[in-house]
């Protein structure tokens, strides 16, 4: 016979103001199986928990029901209290009389009646509860970081610092990501490469870090602590271990017309190339789309000239399988395509460029060696117009509904750098709002206006006309003066919206983690768990989760590392005991449960059963792998013979709850 204790929480006035807690505990005392019922101001407090512990001992309780807030809030607290008093933690049920009752009702009588029903329902369930024990699974003490930009680099360095091995998988030929392309960083204007490349070198030299460049994730299996990942190492046609990075091959390669992606396609590169001077690994790669040898079979100059013998035209994609305990996604961003924004003449004029293109034009290692020249005729631009919010905050369907967050600051940076370097230049900025929250951020923007005399115009550009004289006529509104204005410009810079790197969609599918309508990965909790994905063991760093700048990305990366280290230091992980279990005598071997299982936890085994009279038969029955099952319950509702049940949430328990709710 079960002996149930019921504890009704006031939650200060959160529950008690709408629910007559005294009445609830009085009525519930009469319920069958209930031997003790009480109420208290804060059940989750030290005193409240003591009341529970004392009652469990004094009344020899076999199960307890707490009428309080959502179990998402304090179920763990109450389970711990019960365990401390010697009760199995899975003999605790929480009736949610706050979110499901007091917060959504106004009428006290109604809310009290509903609270009584909810508590009764929990009692009906706990009467059928059985003690459960948590399982254990081992932890592979190695982390995977997907993406080798500043987010991935910082995460890997921090994880390695704690002594764990970590692999960086980067799809490009070098790590460094977008930050390597940027010229200067706000708000301090220090050189991006100068602060990034030492970190890249640290990664390369750290014996705990393995950089798998020019590689992509092919498949992911397993669960937190025990992921098995297949990585495709794309054929580079250059042996990473032999290449010395001497660049002789690049001098002789006859195929020189490939677009240089690192310079935003604003100049060309050879078919065999090293993306930039400080690339890590400092190893060449051959672009198979461009290489004459790979396309026609004739050439082979690079192989002839390579003194290290590193060139191998027969190289094939290679697949590596590795095990990891945790995975960090740090896939970064790209500027959006401007196909929907013909009004800015981006496709019609070389002198309309994106901000990332301007970064390369300003960079000493860029296509113009850092001299700001306009792309069409290499002349020094005198009038430069910046347009902000190009494709951001756009709900018309052409762009992105969100604010890209970084554009206000980098536009102020560009404007200031140009005015500093070329004081004879006139710089205009069209803005809708200037958004500069952050330490020393607004001061930075005000410096552009006050010290550098940048012409900020409140308004938007309607059209950019390429003119016969080679200039660009920018037509826009000046809302503060209620005027329409025309500015003849030599260069127009578009603060283009950013979006998550498109390959993140595939990665999210492989990791079984959720993604929002803008392709940003979803965090477990927007405020309290911002770097964890809802899928256990998967963490998010940088722009894959939402627009952010470098300081925020680095903070997030270190936060991810802390979470990963917290996981990897554990030798074993406790597993949720509320998982599916097959009743083999009822299973008809139809495979429907295996088909719906999103985690691949269900397989089929051939098993011998005794039929009586010394006879046996071999039947095919479903088997749930307890380490992989996440307890979602999809199999239990699919099984046509009712053979599969979720421990702690059996069909019998749920039906009993429904019956209690329906009973008058």
């Amino acid at each position: 016979m079960q002996r149930i204790g019921v504890f009704i929480c006031w939650c200060g006035s959160n529950i008690a103001a709408t629910v007559d807690v005294e009445k609830v505990s009085e009525v519930i005392k009469q319920e069958k199986g209930v031997v003790f019922a009480t109420n208290y101001q804060y059940m989750c407090s030290e005193n409240g928990q003591q009341i529970i512990k004392n009652a469990i001992k004094e009344y020899n309780l076999t199960g307890i029901v707490i009428g309080s807030c959502s179990p998402r809030m304090h179920e763990a607290t109450f389970r711990k209290a019960a365990q401390a008093a010697g009760l199995n933690p899975y003999m605790v049920e929480v009736a949610n009389i706050r979110e499901h009752c007091s917060w959504i009702h106004k009428d006290r009588a109604e809310a009290t009646e509903k609270a009584i029903i909810l508590v009764r329902t929990a009692i009906a369930k706990v009467l059928l509860n059985t003690p459960l024990a948590e399982g254990e699974s081992p932890v592979t003490k190695r982390a995977l970081v997907i993406g080798g930009g500043i987010a991935g680099i910082q995460t890997a360095l921090d994880i390695a610092e704690a002594g764990f091995e970590v692999d960086i998988v980067e799809k490009n030929a070098t790590i460094g990501g977008r930050m390597a392309q940027i010229d200067k960083t706000f708000p301090t204007l220090d050189c991006s490469a100068c602060i990034l490349t030492p970190k890249m070198v640290d990664c390369a030299q750290n014996e705990k870090i393995d950089i798998l460049s020019y590689s992509e994730i092919e498949s992911v299996q397993g669960f937190v602590g025990n992921f098995t990942v297949t990585i495709r190492k794309k054929a580079r046609y250059v042996d990473e271990n032999k290449c010395t990075g001497c660049k002789v091959c690049m001098q002789y390669c006859p195929s020189k017309k490939g677009l240089n992606e690192f310079n935003m396609n604003m100049n060309t590169r050879t078919a065999i190339y090293i993306p930039f001077a400080q690339a890590i690994p400092n190893v060449a790669v051959i672009d198979p789309e461009q290489c004459i040898k790979l396309k026609t079979g004739k050439c082979g100059v690079c192989k002839l000239k390579c003194s290290a013998g590193a060139i191998n035209y027969d190289m094939k994609d290679e697949f590596i399988e590795r095990k990891y305990g945790a995975i960090v996604v740090a896939t970064g961003f790209k500027p959006i395509d401007l196909d929907n924004f013909n009004e800015y003449a981006y496709k019609d004029s070389k002198d309309v460029i994106t901000s990332l293109e301007l970064e390369r034009l300003m960079n000493a290692a860029g296509p113009t060696n850092g001299v700001l020249l306009r792309p069409s005729d290499n002349a020094h631009p005198k009038d430069i117009t910046f347009i902000q919010c190009v494709g951001s905050r756009d709900v018309s369907g052409c762009g992105k509904p969100y604010c890209s967050k970084i554009c206000c600051m980098y536009t102020a940076k560009h404007a200031m750098l140009i005015r500093e370097k070329y004081p004879d230049t006139r710089v205009h900025v069209f803005y809708i709002d200037v958004r500069t929250p952050g330490k020393n951020y607004d001061e930075f923007y005000r410096r552009a206006v006050e010290q550098y005399d940048v012409d900020y115009i409140k308004g938007m550009v309607g059209k950019v006309f390429p003119m016969a004289n080679g200039k660009l006529l920018v037509q826009g509104s000046n809302l503060l003066d209620n005027e329409q204005i025309f500015i003849e410009s030599d260069l127009v810079v578009l603060a283009t919206a950013i979006e998550p790197e498109p390959s993140v969609r595939k990665i999210a599918t492989l990791l079984a983690t959720s993604i929002d309508t803008n392709n940003f990965l979803t965090e477990a909790h927007p405020k309290l768990r911002p770097v964890e994905s809802p899928t256990a063991g998967i963490y998010l760093a940088g722009v894959c989760q939402g627009p952010r700048d470098i300081p925020e990305t680095v903070s997030m990366a270190s936060a991810c590392a802390a979470k990963v280290i917290g996981l990897l230091v554990k030798d074993k992980l406790k597993t949720n005991p509320c998982i599916a279990l097959t009743n083999e005598n009822m299973c008809n071997g139809c495979s429907q449960c295996a088909n719906v299982c999103a985690y691949g936890a269900i397989s089929y085994i051939e098993k011998e059963f005794r039929l009586g009279g010394g006879k046996t038969e071999v039947r095919r029955v479903s088997y749930v792998n307890p380490a992989v099952c996440q307890g979602c319950g999809a199999c239990t509702v699919t099984c046509p013979s009712g053979a599969i049940d979720l421990k702690g949430f059996s069909s019998k328990q749920i039906m009993s709850e429904v019956e209690t709710i329906c009973k008058k």
Binding site: G397, G399, I432, G462, K463, Q484
Partner: protein, 124 residues
Amino acid sequence: MDKNDFLELANTDVKKCMKCGKCSARCPSFDEMDIKPHQFVSYLAEGKIDKLLVSKSIWTCLSCLACVERCPRGVAPQSVIEAIRDTVTRKAGANGLSAEDIPPILDDDVPQQLLVAAYRKYNK
């Protein structure tokens, strides 16, 4: 007619406007307007209908829809201008047609539909 009538008539969500001014940035009739396209949106949102009803802009708007095409927020400034213009047009013919006026102009060639439409429009 009040603000809500005009909101219904214009059939566009003026609250979506983020005041970027892109509608006015490209308007080919901008210089000919006393009240600018973006102001039509904000005046309606603020309920300043009286000012809009006497605006000269409703006669200079070309209905080219550049403002609608360009708006990043899916607002249609031209629809607001049109709602005002339609209202003013109808008001101009206020009481221009009374029930007694109809029998004398009735003949077999006048479509019934036309009379119904005219009565509806001009008898306010």
